[in-house]
Symmetry: C2
């Protein structure tokens, strides 16, 4: 049983390592938010750059506070309206500090009984995003 | 002790869920490869599309087999040469089935004692990738 536990523990550490690396390695700007509280539970370096803060500053803060045009409630309402079941919801957001307008796409999911949202911020001006835009 | 174990187990499942979702949600084409064997240990839907196969077909197969111009050894040699310490290594690859030329960027890491590489495939023709190219 001890060996099985240690194996479990190793497998856990491996997935944890993969998750961390993927957050760092992706070219996307990714934020994980607790839907209930609206607080940022994880954010990668690219997303922190878009909000013009450090990761450390942003962890545990309310995501809506960094947007000029959203509250927690309006963000959640937007995330609850995907165009198709299973696809990501899309909305526009304005970064408070820079007045930069970005595309937010996100998806809600349940993990450990808590509802989280995975969010991607992208610049609608950049090429690759064009085919993902709704308007 | 039982409660602590269950809590560990929940935390593990949560990170696992986050990892799976991030793989699906990222706009990048991501492949995880075992450096020793050259076999694909995980691949997301976007990357499978670029190789024109299903995820199920690709898991456990040798990544180099899908490239016209690489062997496991030449891929590993390429991955071992990042431009700067900590940054990703870059090389060009040609997809065997489509003759499409793609940019491969990758980084090696150690998880559970095994050396893995996280790889991103991107189309050098697409806009956003342009500023990441070396040549």
């Amino acid at each position: 049983a001890q060996i099985a536990l240690e194996r479990d523990h190793e497998a856990q550490r491996e997935i944890d390592t993969r998750y961390r690396l993927l957050m760092d390695f992706t070219s996307d700007s990714i934020i994980l938010v607790s839907v209930g509280s609206g607080l940022i539970v994880d954010i990668n370096h690219n997303a922190a750059l878009m909000l013009a803060r450090t990761r450390g500053d942003l962890l545990g803060k309310s995501l809506a506070d960094y947007f000029a045009d959203h509250t927690r409630d309006s963000l959640v309402a937007g995330l609850e309206k995907p165009v198709q079941v299973g696809s990501a919801a899309m909305m526009e957001v304005e970064i408070k500090s820079s007045q930069r307008r970005l595309q937010l796409s996100g998806k809600m999911f349940r993990a450990s009984g808590e509802q989280l949202a995975i969010i991607r911020l992208s610049d609608p001006g950049a090429g690759v995003v064009a085919d993902e835009r709704l308007t």
